[in-house]
């Protein structure tokens, strides 16, 4: 059974700080995605990483896919209060099914 474990579960930081959250598995994934979810809303896709070792940047967010395609990280530079939310990683399991990690709940304090 493929599982995605995310760490840390909770993170509370001051505005302007940097942070990294992790998504790990013992299984190889053909791709991994990162989503952000705010209260009362559905997840919103941030990025998809496909190639082992790939690095993608989205403004202050940097996503990396591990060389072995078993893990991924999300680094946020100079966090802002608007970055607050639940960060989820997800990957395909089989032809159609997707599995999600348990998420990292980030709170950025002003």
């Amino acid at each position: 059974t493929q599982l995605l474990e995310q760490s840390p579960q909770f993170l509370s930081i001051q505005e302007g700080e940097n942070l990294t959250v992790y998504c790990n598995s013992s299984s190889v994934f053909s791709s991994l995605q990162w989503y952000r979810q705010e209260p009362g809303e559905g997840p919103v896709l941030l990025v998809t990483v496909v190639t082992g070792g790939e690095v993608k940047k989205l403004k202050r967010l940097t996503f990396q896919f591990g060389d072995a395609r078993k893990d991924s990280s999300l680094h946020i530079t100079a966090a802002q209060t608007g970055d607050t939310g639940l960060y989820l990683c997800a990957g395909p399991s089989g032809t159609y099914k997707y599995i999600f990690g348990t998420g990292t709940r980030l709170k950025v304090l002003a």
Binding site: Q6, G42, V44, S93, Y96, Y98, F100
Partner: protein, 115 residues
């Protein structure tokens, strides 16, 4: 509307009752997913539709859960004999045709509470 819509936004029911949850995908999206998200957890896959047919229903927890998409657009998730453990947010997502099933657009969810 432009996005995926789900109705109702909240549903409170009593144990043993039947409920229906509706999803209106983005117009033209052929793929549709249902997920369940319990408090403090990530979404859990339930079922995937490609057009009218359920291509993968391996995530449905038991035979009390059933979903349909008769015309390849709107989908309804049906739960019979609800149990307190069914309480969760039920999310729907759709994807455009053309192969990139990675791009899922989620609705806001229906919060189901079983008393």
């Amino acid at each position: 509307g432009a996005g995926v819509s789900q109705t109702p936004s909240n549903k409170v029911t009593e144990k043993g009752k039947y409920v229906e949850l509706r999803c209106d995908p983005i117009s033209g999206h052929t793929a549709l997913y249902w997920y369940r998200q319990s408090l403090g957890q990530g979404p859990e896959f339930l079922i995937y539709f490609q057009g009218t047919g359920a291509a993968d229903d391996s995530g449905l927890p038991n035979d009390r859960f059933f979903a349909v998409r008769p015309e390849g657009s709107v989908s309804t998730l049906k739960i019979q004999r609800t149990e307190r453990g069914d309480s969760a947010v039920y999310l729907c997502a759709s994807s455009p045709p053309g192969g990139d099933r990675n791009e899922q657009f989620f609705g806001p969810g229906t919060r189901l509470t079983v008393l």
